[in-house]
């Protein structure tokens, strides 16, 4: 008589994170060895980077946002921030910029090892004005050329994108190809780009399916805190079979979690939508503030900084690689105007049947945070959705007060309990 299948635990179904960790390590190793291997390093941004083009020319992309957050996650932010501030950067400047610049200063050491300087600065200006200023710092510091892609903001409050925006971005992509040919010494291979775009499209679609698992009740994953691990491959490994394989594995793992009724907390008591960049120096403690209440995020905006894949706003198309890349670059989360962002959060609350919204506002990033108070007004006052707005920073530990944050979060859950009990 066949034995019933053993019930799997959360630990059994938490392998994708480790797989992602392995991919990150491999990626950081490739960065460390880039100089020795003669690989050219192109600095790029998380938002709206056409990694598919860089890969077509064998550039190794380095994302100072990712290196900075990883350094910060491992407790390495303070010495770099101090180094930058001693050089003259303001306490009011973005922590990512300060860490990114300091990591390549003479004598700097980081918790992830040596961070190679840039051979090329690919500036995809989408959703963050500071991207421009940051790359200018590198440009003047290292004398490295900036290759620019100017991505117009989605400024229509209904979300319409004028045709001249698409023409402008597509035209610039053609110009960038010529610049990359010159910088790499390699000819552009359109078929190679198409294949990279095809692999990216496949990964994006799998990632979208993973994110939509948050609609299940209970959600088999935390769509904010766990997504922060899961979103890494779509950012730095997009356009590869390995990336596709990762999201296929993740999707199966999340399905298994649902089947076995396991998730990242003992039970699902509250369903939350999160907005904002996490606090990396205290990431696990910050997560714990919500997890201890058995609260799980069912949807969040932060994983969409790399692309608003779950809105249908873009779809990469190997037959129209440049035009579809242009659409992808326009639809980065912070490149949407505030009413669109606020409406998206409200839609998440509806579609994912969430109980509340958490807005984590960070001092460093006005792109994300400026106007989050207005989001709270709209969601809480006009729509009656329980909403908590808390402040700290994504990398600078000086702006995180553990006791104060805990008090705010605990008090919020108390009132949420009262409200849910009253329903």
């Amino acid at each position: 008589m066949p034995q019933p299948a053993a019930k799997l635990t959360f630990k059994d179904l938490d392998r994708a994170k480790y797989m992602q960790g392995g991919m990150i390590k491999e990626y950081f190793d490739s960065l460390t060895n880039s100089r020795a291997n003669g690989t050219k390093v192109a600095y790029a941004f998380v938002m709206a980077n056409p990694i598919e083009l860089l890969k077509s020319f064998d550039f190794l992309p380095l994302y100072p946002e990712i290196t900075s957050l990883n350094i910060s996650y491992r407790g390495g932010a303070p010495p770099l921030i101090t180094l930058a501030e001693e050089a003259g950067y303001s306490t009011d400047a973005c922590g990512y910029v300060k860490m990114g610049v300091a990591a390549t200063m003479p004598g700097a050491s980081t918790t992830i090892g040596n961070v190679p300087g840039p051979d090329l600065l690919l500036l995809s200006y989408s959703g963050c004005q500071i991207y421009i200023h940051w790359w200018e710092q590198f440009h003047y510091q290292a004398g490295v050329p900036i290759v620019l892609l100017d991505i117009p903001y989605v400024r229509d409050f209904e979300g319409r994108v004028p045709r001249h925006d698409i023409r402008y971005v597509t035209g610039q992509l053609e110009e960038v190809i010529a610049r990359l040919e010159k910088a790499s010494g390699k000819r552009f291979d359109e078929n190679r780009l198409k294949e990279t775009v095809r692999l990216s499209a496949e990964a994006w679609d799998l990632w979208r399916q993973c994110l939509e698992m948050g609609k299940l009740r209970p959600t088999p994953f935390d769509a904010y805190f766990e997504s922060i691990y899961y979103m890494a491959p779509i950012t730095f490994a997009r356009g590869s079979q390995k990336c596709v394989d990762f999201y296929r594995f993740l999707l199966e793992e999340l399905k298994s979690r649902a089947e076995h009724g396991v998730g990242p907390t003992a039970e699902e008591r509250y369903r939350l939508v999160f907005e904002g960049v996490p606090n990396y120096p205290f990431f696990k403690k910050f997560w714990g503030l919500f997890a201890q209440h058995n609260a799980r995020s069912v949807a969040s905006t932060y994983p969409k900084v790399a692309g608003l894949v779950d809105t249908g706003a873009f779809r990469l198309n190997p037959d129209k690689p440049l035009e579809s890349l242009a659409e992808y670059m326009i639809h980065a989360y912070c490149n949407w105007n505030m009413p669109l962002r606020t409406n998206l959060i409200e839609k998440y609350v509806r579609d994912y049947k969430a109980d509340a919204v958490i807005l984590h506002s960070i001092k460093s990033c006005r792109s994300f945070s400026m106007g989050e108070g207005d989001m709270r007004e709209y969601l809480a006052v006009e729509k009656g959705i329980p909403t908590l707005l808390v402040e700290s920073d994504h990398v600078d530990p000086r702006y995180y007060s553990e006791a104060q944050m805990k008090n705010r979060v605990d008090a919020f859950f108390e009132t949420l309990d009262l409200r849910m009990g009253a329903k």
Partner: protein, 383 residues
């Protein structure tokens, strides 16, 4: 300054903080419309040619409380964005038929959206090209101006007309030439134009109708040029950083009193930054776009891939015959803070003295500024 001219500029300047009574009066008299725009630059010709008065919103400079705005925007954003938003929330901007923002920084960008959500008005946003060396930039900006033109036309109940636009471009070319003449006069003879007066004159450019302003400014230039004040033993300083949020006039007076002639600053720079726009040719909208794209004069809020800011600052300081630079950066203004890092490196290399001060538009205590500025001036004078 002559009494009547002085009072005209002063009245217009004061009115442009929180009251906008002159805008109401102009609307009543002309039956026209008015739009407010957030700094730094806006192609005023587009509005003016359709009978719309364009008014630059330069902040309340402490004239309103920031409580409501801070609740919507966070405490770590600059004061000008909060004071403009506060005025939008509490009704000071009711006189405007529309508000226009642009991509000068993340704060201004998000401000456009939350303003739209809180005001039942026409609110729009211009994405000025950043890739100004792209062969597609001018055509893009032309189309963007046409899009904005449609929005303005809806406000005015009219259509963008090429001939009227050409006439407006001519008028604004004249206004900008006069403003540049004023800047040159102060650069050459700072002793004849104290900062408070200079500020009143240029601040009026934010709100007065272009034709009226150009005429008044021409008269002012004639009058000021004839002055005979004696130059004093002061250092010549360039102030950099006040391209958006306004420096309190009292702070600049403190700098002057500490022994400095301010031979350059960036207050309302957007109103004189553009060079002459071509008036010949079939497409004046394209001409307006090309003038923006082709301008190589650095502006902190506008990136141009072919402009070397470090080379510029060295040449600029030399052209001003400035003894030193005072970086005045508004609190929380990241663009100014990053440009400070870019600009200070070549100054250090050439041993050009500089001083860094922070301010907010509502700052009212300047004793620390006095001490710093006096030390700065003395260190140069007695070097």
């Amino acid at each position: 300054m002559q009494g009547s001219l002085a009072s005209r500029f002063e009245e217009a300047s004061t009115d442009s903080y929180t009251t906008f009574g002159l805008v109401s009066k102009w609307k009543q008299e002309t039956k026209g419309k008015a739009v407010g725009y957030f700094p730094v630059y806006f192609p005023e010709e587009l509005a003016d040619s359709m009978g719309i008065l364009p008014v630059s919103l330069q902040g309340a400079s402490g004239g309103v409380s920031l409580d409501m705005a801070t609740a919507h925007t966070q405490s770590f954003v600059c004061s000008i964005s909060r004071s403009v938003f506060q005025m939008a929330l509490q009704g000071n901007l009711e006189v405007f038929d529309g508000l226009i923002f642009s991509n000068i920084c993340d704060v201004a960008r998000n401000l456009s959206g939350i303003t739209k959500r809180n005001m039942a008005k026409y609110v729009d946003y211009i994405h000025f090209p950043v890739n100004n060396s792209s062969s597609h930039a001018a055509a893009y900006l032309r189309d963007e101006y046409l899009r904005i033109g449609e929005g303005l036309a809806n406000v005015a109940g009219t259509r963008l007309d090429a001939e009227k636009l050409r006439a407006s471009i001519s008028l604004h070319n004249e206004k900008r030439r006069l403003l540049r003449r004023l800047a040159a006069l102060r650069r050459e003879r700072p002793e004849i134009i104290p900062y408070a007066e200079w500020y009143s004159v240029i601040r009026a450019s934010a709100v007065m109708p272009a034709s009226e302003y150009a005429s008044a400014l021409a008269s002012y230039l004639d009058e000021a040029s004839a002055r005979t004040s004696k130059s004093m033993d002061k250092i010549r300083v360039a102030v950099i950083g006040n391209f958006c949020e306004q420096i309190p006039v009292m702070l600049m007076k403190v700098i002057e009193d500490a022994g400095c002639y301010v031979v350059n600053d960036e207050a309302l720079i957007g109103n004189r930054w553009l060079q002459d726009v071509r008036t010949e040719g079939d497409d004046p909208v394209l001409s307006l776009a090309e003038a923006y794209i082709g301008n190589r004069e650095p502006l902190t809020v506008r990136f141009h891939p072919e402009v070397d800011k470090q080379e510029h600052i060295e040449a600029f300081v030399k052209s001003l015959r400035a003894d030193g630079v005072i970086f005045c950066t508004p609190k929380f203004c990241e663009p100014a803070l990053y440009d400070y890092m870019i600009y200070k490196a070549p100054l250090e290399k050439r041993k050009t003295p500089y001083l860094h001060l922070e301010y907010e538009e509502s700052s009212s205590s300047f004793e620390h500024v006095r001490t710093m500025a006096e030390t700065f001036a003395e260190s140069i004078l007695f070097d």
